[in-house]
Each structure stands twice: as C-alpha cells, then as structure tokens.
Symmetry: C2
Subunit: 362 residues, 2 copies
Amino acid sequence: MSEKPIVVDSDVHNGMKSLSELLPFLPRVWHDQWLEMGIGAARVYYSGVGGAMKDAVPDNGGGPGSDPDFMLKHLLEQYHIDYAILNSGIEISLYPDPDYATAVASAWNDWMAEVWLKASPKFRGSILINNTDPLAAAREIDRMAANPNMVQVIMTSASSMLYGQRFFHPIYEAAERNGLPVAVHPGGEGRGISPAPTNAGYPTRYLEWHNILPTGYMAHINSLICEGVFEKFPGLKFVAIEGGIGWLPHLMWRMDKNYKALRSSVPWLKRRPSEYIREHVYLTSQPIEEPDDPQHLLQIFQMIGADKRVMFSTDYPHWDFDNPLMALPPMPKEMKRRVMGETAMELYRLPGRNGEQAVTAQ
Amino acid sequence: MSEKPIVVDSDVHNGMKSLSELLPFLPRVWHDQWLEMGIGAARVYYSGVGGAMKDAVPDNGGGPGSDPDFMLKHLLEQYHIDYAILNSGIEISLYPDPDYATAVASAWNDWMAEVWLKASPKFRGSILINNTDPLAAAREIDRMAANPNMVQVIMTSASSMLYGQRFFHPIYEAAERNGLPVAVHPGGEGRGISPAPTNAGYPTRYLEWHNILPTGYMAHINSLICEGVFEKFPGLKFVAIEGGIGWLPHLMWRMDKNYKALRSSVPWLKRRPSEYIREHVYLTSQPIEEPDDPQHLLQIFQMIGADKRVMFSTDYPHWDFDNPLMALPPMPKEMKRRVMGETAMELYRLPGRNGEQAVTAQ
C-alpha cells in the first residue's frame, strides 16, 4: 500500500481574535497607536462577498483564521494537509511611519512564534517585515531566522518602488544569509502608502481590481531579474503567492526576446531572463486559473515547468479558497505530487512524515 | 494557380521630415509652441539601439518613415504588403495642455490625409485623437471619418485613467457611430503627464520598461470589459497594438473565474468577460513572442482564437521590426491567412485586389 502524497498548503492566513492579542509582544510606546490604527492600510474596494469563508468562523468565536485548534481541525485535518505556511500582517509595509511598522512586524513575529508555531508542528511561519526600512527588516530576518519553524520572509506586493531596485537589497542579503525564500502576497494594491493599483490609475470596483493584481507580480519579477538580484544573491528564492500562473510564459518569452537586442544594458546578467525564473521563482496555485478546457492550463504548466515552481495553496480562510481535493486539473501523477507538496517540502526544508529532511532536487 | 494571400501590416509608423511640415495644417496661434515642443512627452529611457532600423533612412534624407515613396518601396513592395495601417503622433494625449494637444491632433490628421493617404491607396490612416478632451476627440473622429481612407482611431495606452471609465465614453460613442475601431499603442508609459509605467513606480532601464508594457494593456482591457463599454457600445472594436499576445489566456481565465463569484457588482454584463474579448478585442502581432518551442505559441494562439483576433504587423521602421516572411511560427494555413491579412481586411473594411469589399465573418 503506497503512502499518500505529502500535501503542503503554501498560503494560509492566520489572525488575531482581537487587536489586544498583540500587546504583550509590542513595546508600550506603540500601544495606543496599535489599538487605534492596527495594521492600517484600510480597504479601498467593497467585495460584496466579504473577505472570508463563512464556515471558517471558529466554534468558540473570533474571526476566521483566529484560532489555531479550529484551523487544525477545519483545514488541516479535513483536507489531510501535512503543513500550512502561515502568512499574516502582510500590509504592514504600507503604514506611513516606518518605525511603527517595523515595531509591529517584530511583535507580530513573536506572537506568531508563541501562539501559532508552538500550537502544532504542522504550522510553519513567514517572517513579517516592514520593507520601507530595509536595514531594520534585515535585522528582523536575522533575529527570527533563529526559530527553525520560520520558513520564509513575507512582504506585500504593493509598493511605490519595484522590488529589484537597490533600496531593497539588504532584505535579500539577509534572506539569502539565512537560507530563507522571500515571498510577496497581493491585496495591498492601492491601500495605505502604495500607489494606484495599475499604471493607469484606480480600477473602479473590487472585481476589476482583483482581476488585475497579477500585473504587479509581472513588474516585480521583471525588475528582480533585470536588476541582477539573482546574480548578486544566487542563493535567493522568490515566491509569488496568490498572483496567478498563466502570465508567466508570456513574461519569460518577452524578456528573452528583448534581452537578445538589449542585453548590453544589463551586463551583469549571465543567462537569459527566463533561466533566472526557472532557477529562482516559485508560484503558489490559488486562485488557480480555470479555462473551459483544463488541457489549456496543463499546457501552461508544461511551458513553465510547473513541477519545479508551482506550489499548491488554499488561501484559507479567504472567500476564494481552493479546495485541495478539487482545485487542480488532471495532470501527470508525478507533476501532481510535486505541486501538492514535494516542491514546498524542498523549498521550505520541511521534515517528512518519518522525520527525514527533504533534499532539494535542484 | 492560387492567388497569394493578402498581407496587411497593421502597425506602421510614418513621420515628418521636420516639424515645419505640420505648419500648413496648424492654426498660427500654435506655431511657436509646436516648433519648440512638438508632440512633447520626451523619452525617459535610453534604448541603446536607437529607435529605428538604420536601413529605413530614406534615400533622399529625412528620418526613417518620413518619405511615402521610400516606404512603399522599402516596406510594401519588398515584402508584398497590400495595405499598411499608419499610426503616428500617438503620444499627443500626454501633453499637459488639452487645447494644444487637440489642435495638433487635428492638424496631424489633415497632414496624414494630404501627404500620406493621397500618396497611395495602399496606405490607410488612423485618426489621431487627444483623449484628455473626449468631447473634442469625438468631434475630431466625426470630422475625419468622412475620409474613407481613415480606418481607425488611435490613442496612446499611457494614461492616468483606465480606458473603461466614463470619462472616455464619448470617444467610443463617436467611434461606434462612425464604424471605426479604437486602437491603443504603447510607448508613452512614464512620459509626459502619464503616471509611472508600473503600479510600483519606474523600471530602471529601457529593457525592463519595454518588457513590462503589456501590463497596461491587461489593465485597460479589464477596465473596458468590467465597466460594460462593450454592452454600452456593442458595435465597438478595440485593437491592442504592439502589446504582446501570450498574456491574454490568463486574463480571460482570471476574469471569468472572478466573475462567477462577483458578478453582482457588474450587473450590466450579460456574458462572461472572455466572451467580450472574443467578440470585441483584436491584437497586433509584433513583437511576436518567440518561445524556444514554437508549438507553445501555437497553443496560445489556439487558446485565444487567434484566427479571429491576431493581426500581423511589422512595426516598421522601429528597431524591433518583425519580418513578414520570418516572424510567425508554423501554423495551419487557414489560420495564417487570417492572421496575415484577412482579419484586418474585415475589421478595416479594406477592398480586395479586385476591388471587392471584405465581408465580416462575425
């Protein structure tokens, strides 16, 4: 009888029952501001469907995703998930004051370690940083990387500057030094101190805004590669969470075509742009595209080498949750094992069911 | 012996030998400003390869694309092209003063009609508009649509507002009334009064800027559909020139998936978003993506129904010219006929070689 494939959920959102849950971890000087402002970066758009699945409200109260025990039961046990990568507090970089944002990120990480990572070995955390003070963010990465259950660095994809630019390099240096991938997560676009969500201003409604979030991912990955971040930090991995998949072939082809004629302007690149993507960039699956013909998504998977870079995620407890048992189209068994868990096991160096460490194939 | 397939080049750039060429068409009050400022919207990025093919300089002087007779010989005769759709002056909407921009656009159109469209029936013009004064633009469309050799409306894709928004509807109303498609052309992003080229600020170099231009196209098409422009103006066609192709499947799938949950916010839509794309949106081919495996591009072509919406173009005389004899990957003969000319013949209502009018299949 063969063992069931490992399942890693690479994008799960945990939260607090109330703002006061953070206070024990936050210096007193910031308490009043925290209780009044929180993460800040208020929503701009009304979704009409709420933010979360209605059945994700914990039995004993609190918001969806706010109770470790309920999440273990409602998500991990129900869907036979071995590990959940926890991402939260993400929009903190959109707060105007970098000192407050850095202090909150740091308190958030201590709360994550204490309340969530101690609750179950199935939970693994992302180190929250405020990226508007990159040197402080680098110190926070060094501090939290000492906790082996912290498996990556997380920041919002909403930004007034592209992520390949030199301003952010101390973050990548610290992440590489500690062997941690850097991940971005969407949703802050247009909020807080971030600019308009498109290069032509504000979409009109939530649907339109949500549809177009992946364009920011294309811009950041293009920037990371053209600026030579992966030559400067060859051990760095970049995870594009919840930003779609189907646009990646186009970006790789367009970059490679232009590179032929224009490579003299980026002499630090030693290979074609698409080769950096194939070595350094990972994507999470939710919200997975659903073409009428599922074969079309499989063609896209083959164009990008999905077995090496697409990692399954549910986005629990958000409204557009992808069910692990139903979300993905039919695909070759080996590719499915990779997407459902093996790639994440390697990237995040998670121990297997018998305690052995995954060995990176790459 | 079967007739050679019709070839339409759907994106050709013509220009002036010098700024003074416009003066006979421009009211005296704008002459000094024109001679000092021209179209305005100066380039931000240095390309390193120049803007134009070096062999496109006319025999008797002037810049590339500035001589109708030379263009006929160097482009249309050399490559057996039946029609060239001429697009120029495109960035005029990025000038801060809408009165100047409207006056220049109008003069430009008279110059186009007089100097280019009278030079050969193989040339067909795009009506240049300044879209920051939509009512004036609508009047200009009405005025120039009287010339049967004007076959579409052209504007820059760079904009501080998304093109589905109500501000721009008078333009679409006028275009529909006159049976003309509205086209956008990239290159102005970050120039003049347009915002930064991405939703996270300015790319660092020309290569990076050029790679990411298609994201603006995705945002505009998303806006046009979500705002219901194609329900309000059901006869309107939209042409996305020089913005790539490979991103379209992703956009269609993401829009359709979100529409399932969020359609209550856009009750004016009667069909799935992708169906509006299939009925109203056209793409020109240059710069065509070049995956290592040409089969991958053909798969993309099949996902989007390329036989109905991809129109061949060279971008003559720009540096990244696509050669009509070499640019496209191998594809079924019928699809190739459509892409090389038949779809453009229908969209632009061009007479065939024996003078007969194409009949729209749709």
